[in-house]
Structures are given as C-alpha cells and as structure tokens.
C-alpha cells in the first residue's frame, strides 16, 4: 500500500555512502532516490565506541535494577532505591544510544549521569568502611566518563548542516511516503490543488490561503498552542501529475516538497507520493517544521496520507472520539489524550 524512502543525514561524513543493513529501496528501481540531493548521509549506525557504551549502559542498568543491593555494596553507596533509579537511567541511555537516529543527547545524558555518580561516590568516600570500595568504583567511573565525553563531543562536532542547491534555506532530510488511493490521478490532483482542502487531512495544519497564482500562506498549530506561519510558492504544477513547492521566507518552516500523482496499474487508482526536504538541525530555519512533524516525521506524513485516502474514498475520517466507554485508567486516558490510539 505504501512505500517509503528515508534519507536522514546527520552530516557525519561528507559523501553519501549506503551503510550496510540499510533497509531502503534498492537503487535502480522505479523508486530510486532520484530526488535526493548529492552529499547526503544514509541512516548512519552507531560506531563501535558508541555501541560499546550503549551495551555497557544496558548491562550496568540491568544489574542495578535487578540486584541494586549488590551494586550499591560494590560502589560503596547506600540506597538500593537510588541504585534502581540509576539503573533505569542507564537502561534509557543504552536503549537511546543503540536505537535512536540522533544519539548525541543520549551520549550527553551519560556524561551528566557520570557526574551524578561521581558525586554520590564522593559522599561514600567520606564514610569510613566504604572508602576502599568507593575509591575503586570511582576510578572505574572516571574512566568511563572520559570515554563518554569523547563519544559525546565527537557526535556533537559532526552534527554539521549541509546546503542543498535550489532549496530556500538549508536542508538535510529527505522523506518520501506514498499511499494508494482508489481515485483517478486527476481527482487526487484536483483535491490537493484546492489548498483549502489540506487542513482536512493534515492534522497540524490550521489553514491555507491562496495569495495569488503561485503563492499561498500556511498556518499550522505547533506544540503547546504555538502557531507557525509561512509562505510557499509553487515551483511546478502539472495538472493530474505533480505539484511542487518551496517556502519563501525564513519562518522556521523552511522546506521544499512535492506531491506526485502516479496512475496505478490496471485502473487501481493513484499512488500519491509525497516527498519533503527540510533541515532538522539547521538552527532556526527548519526548527519549526521539525516540531510540527514531531519525532517520527515518517509516521506523521503516513498518517496524514492515510487520512487523505480516507477523505477521498469515503468522504470522512473514521473516528472513535466521542464514543462511550467505561471508566478509563490513567494509562487509557493518557494514550487517548496523546493520540496514540483513538
């Protein structure tokens, strides 16, 4: 039903290399990375130092959660409760480093954690009886801290931003998602080209106003009741085939995008394919858009496309909001409030 291509570069290496294990779409297919600007990173994996620290975090965290008393004794500290919290922190950092695309904050969280641990063990140093063990543990933590600093600084230093020609502002993310809609390319094009329809299926969009033939003004709801506005101009408009646009001002939402309407084989409707270029780390330029799209921009775009399909095929967006239920637990209320489920 949908295919996607992600090239999210954190600017680590200057030339594009396809990392081993990258689960993208092979080049040469019709979904080849034709729109990816040169000089892009693929999904880069953690290097061996980062991986090592990640697994170390998980091992230490597991030990501290499962056997807090033992670990407390070894480190000369006293409270198993605090040790459990430390363990939880370690587990979070380990999972973060090993699974997240941007590992930098997680590496820094380890440095902060190390500082806390050293402070805690300094207290243990002051107590007679635990002094010997605490000194040994502290020496070990100091060594790990040095490695954490090294990894964190290295990751931060490499978070550079690259320039893409032809795009207003700087960008280093390319996203593509598509959805099959049982309507003709012309119908899909017409629906999309009437920009006032877009807020019906784009969840964060409040309004789109046509300024003149080529330009339009967009207003979106940001997190915590913030608003984000920008002006876009159409860079390509081929009826029944494609609409492309880019932002004109540095409003915090700098991006370039396109939507293509490809006829699906044997009258199976249309593949609506959206691609988006923007900069997640390019300072103020793309920061607003990053907030709009959230932590998982792929999923956000996919959900919006799914809503487009629902509106086009059924005339409405299925919902359960407002239906009756019994008493909800706290978890149930939270998941519904945050829109994880409906």
């Amino acid at each position: 039903m949908a295919t996607d291509v992600t090239q999210q570069g954190l600017g680590r290496s200057p030339t594009y290399t396809q990392p081993s294990g990258y689960a993208g779409i092979e080049s040469g297919s019709r979904f080849a990375r034709r729109d990816i600007p040169q000089g892009f990173d693929g999904l880069e994996r953690a290097d061996s130092l980062e991986r090592g620290l990640g697994w170390f975090s998980i091992a230490l965290g597991t030990a501290a959660v499962v056997a807090p008393r033992v670990v407390s004794w070894i480190s000369g500290t006293r409270s198993p409760t605090i040790m459990r919290l430390v363990g939880t922190r370690e587990l979070a950092a380990g999972v973060g480093i090993l699974t997240q695309r941007d590992r930098t904050p997680w590496l820094w969280s380890r440095v902060v954690g190390d500082t806390f641990d050293i402070a805690a063990m300094s207290l243990a140093l002051l107590r007679r009886g635990t002094r010997g063990r605490a000194a040994l543990a502290m020496a070990a933590v100091a060594g790990v801290t040095a490695l954490d600093m090294l990894a964190a600084l290295r990751a931060t230093g490499s978070r550079s931003v690259q320039t893409v020609p032809g795009v207003s502002g700087r960008t280093d993310v390319y996203l593509e998602r598509s959805i099959a809609v049982s309507k003709s390319p012309e119908e899909c094009y017409r629906f999309w080209r009437s920009f006032e329809n877009l807020p019906r299926f784009m969840q964060t969009l409040e309004s789109v106003r046509q300024l003149d033939e080529g330009r339009s003004h967009w207003v979106a709801k940001g997190p915590l009741s913030t608003r984000l506005e920008w002006t876009s101009e159409i860079t390509a408009d081929r009826p029944g085939e494609e609409i492309a646009w880019r932002t004109l001002d540095d409003s915090g939402a700098a991006h370039a995008g396109s939507v293509r309407f490809e006829p699906a084989p044997a009258g199976r409707g249309t593949i609506v394919r959206v691609s988006l270029h923007y900069s997640p780390l390019g300072g103020a330029l793309g920061a607003g858009l990053v907030k709009l799209l959230g932590h998982d921009p792929q999923s956000r775009i996919r959900e919006d496309l799914r809503r487009l399909k629902q509106v086009m095929e059924t005339g409405e967006i299925p919902t359960t909001r407002g239906q009756p239920s019994g008493r909800r637990s706290l978890l149930g209320r939270v998941t519904r409030q945050w829109g994880f489920t409906s």
Binding site: E313, T314, E316, P318, R321, G322, P324, G326, S342
Partner: protein, 409 residues
Amino acid sequence: MKANVWYGREQLHVENVPDPKILNPRDAIVRITSTAICGSDLHIYDGYIPGMLPGDIIGHEFMGEVMEVGAEVKNLKVGDRVVNPFPISCGACFFCKQSLHSLCENSNPNAWLAEKLWGHSPAGLFGYSHLLGGYAGGQAQYARIPFADVGPIKVPADLSDEQVLFLSDIFPTGYMAAEQCGIREGDTVAVWGCGPVGLFAIKSARLLGAERVIAIDRFPARLRKASQWADAETLNYEQVDVPQALEVMTGGRGPDACIDAVGMEGHAHGAFGGYDLLKQTLLLETDRPTALRQALLACRNGGTVSIPGVYGGFLDKVPFGAVVNKALTVRSGQTHVQRYMRPLLELIERGSIDPSFVVTHRLRLEEAPRAYRMFRDKQDSCIKVVLKPWADVPTVEPDEVQESGRILH
C-alpha cells in the same frame, strides 16, 4: 445506557455509560434488541487479545432498530430492523470493492498499531481491541455503527431475532470456512471444534455438498448437536485418537479439507498441552495452536486447511513442512460478513437452515459476566448465549435444547 464493559482478565461489569452519538455523516445509531457472546469474545475475557484497554465496551454480534442516521446514510431510515456485521467496512476501497470487507483499508483509526503487529492493518471491528479500531461494542443497549450505509442489512419482520442475529458473525464465519474448502462431490470435511462457528461450518459444509462431515470435540452436548443438525459423524478426542480415527475413516488418505474452528486457546491433554499452556503463560507464544497442528497433519495431500478460529500473534511448533510437502492450501481471514449476509438471509428465508438451533441460553444483559463464565467453562451445556439488553423480566431460562444437552450426561 447499560453496557458490558471490560476491565481486565475475567473482569466484566455491566454498568451505565453515556449513550452513543452520531460522530460522522455515515454513522447510524441502533437500539439493540439482541446481542450475542461470541467464542472470540472469550479470548478477550481470558485476557489473550492485545490492545484492550480497561473501560472498553465489548461485543460484536448484535441487531436492533435504527434510531438515528447521519446525513449521508440514504439506505436506512429510523425504525428499520437491521442486523449488523462485525467488521466495519467503507465499501469504497481496493478491498471492499472486491468484497473483501474484513480487509477494509479505511475503517481502522489505529491502523498503525495493527501494522506494527501484522505488517498491514485489516478492517476495524466492533468491540475487539484498539488494535482493531477501538470501536465501542454491541453488548449494550445502543451502538453507533460507522459506514452504516454499507454494513447493516434490513431483515424481514416475520423472522425472529434469533433466526437472523447470527448473520452478524458466526453463520457467515462458519459458511466462509466451509466455502474456502472448495468442496467437491464426494469430499470429506473434518471440523475441529463444535462451538457455534464449528457447528455453522459443519452445517454449511453439508449445504455446499460435502459427502461426509466429521465433527471433533470433547463435549457430548456439542457433538450431539453436530450429529443432530448436520448429520455429522463425531469424534470425542477424549475417547479416541483423532489422527488415527481419521485415517481409518478415510481409507488412510485423510480428509479432503480440514477446518480449525478452535483458535488460539486450544485444549490439549498431555505433554503438548502443558507445553503450550506454559509457553503462553510465560508470553513465549501468544496462541495455543493445538487444533491447527492436528489439522495440518491430518489433511490429505493437496487438501485445504481452512482456519476460521482466531489466532492473534506468534505460534509455536506449527508443522509448516506439512504445508509444503503435502501441497496444502491454507485459507483464513476474518469473515467478509457483508459479502455473505444477503445470500445467507435467503437461505434462512427459504428454510434451508434455522440458525436459532445453536442458542442454548437467553439472558438479560446484566447477566453478561455470569454468562461469559458459563460459556467459557461450558457449564450447563452452554453453546450460545443471547443477551437481551432491554428485558425487564427476570432471566429467561434455558430452553428445551439445553435440556436435551443435559440428558446426554
């Protein structure tokens, strides 16, 4: 209104909740006159269905009277008596247009959740977890029906609720299970599980021309029903070795088609049964595929194994080598109920089948918690419970069918 609300494993409460409202233009609200407990509801009751949240209203086999329709519902009007199919289907997507209604691409608002587990999302269902849409179910006094212009079917006044209620799920489910077997003249069909879906599969296999139907269960009342209603030969797996018996009965070739109407909570004795129960309890597997394993091994070369029983996740020790080396066809799916409602209603009108034969208990909605326990534990020879949401009379006592069940013991 009153509704049967799930709060956790074996925790059901019938309580007052707000009445449903029209939320979308293609919605309708029905006042429910009869609602049944499905075998698949027992998986929810036992806590095996992922994605349930405390507070969910359950139930997906219901019928009633249209109270209100949304602006876009043109084919129904207030006062119509309708039976509602359990999958929610838009009628316009790639799958709906091919009558594969349980695969509707548009009706699950939580499709991304289902995609995580299964790769792609099927249709939303009534009262069957947030994985499948989180829609409030029909064990209640009222229900909201999305895409009401596609799902509910009007039923004639001269047929009783119990004659048409099961068009909502178990009759089409049993029928589709049999239809998937591609029954040809002379075929033998073996059916594991003689609960309501199994019984409808047995009856449907007969209607579709099976020469012999072999019913497998361990409860005499259920086996008795299978033989009484569909002239099935019966095997009680507590008394006979089923694989061996099937060999002997089919001249060593095996049944032409096998139907697993048991699903994820299969019952088994001995080492294998204990093994599955242990692994399921430890969350090392999600389902206990006892019947499926036996069906795959028993089926003849080149035969068909049809699976109406519900499986949810990851199964262990499934003899897939049998599928490849015996060239088996495996067919399954949530039922495309909308596809079958009209033709099966015609069978009922013609008198070819009277679905009310499965009903053993008629209770008030308030008695749902007790009814679930009774149905799960097969107390009182329980096969099918119909709940009456508006009955102000005390419990309607089990009918004579249940009496006949008692005689068997």
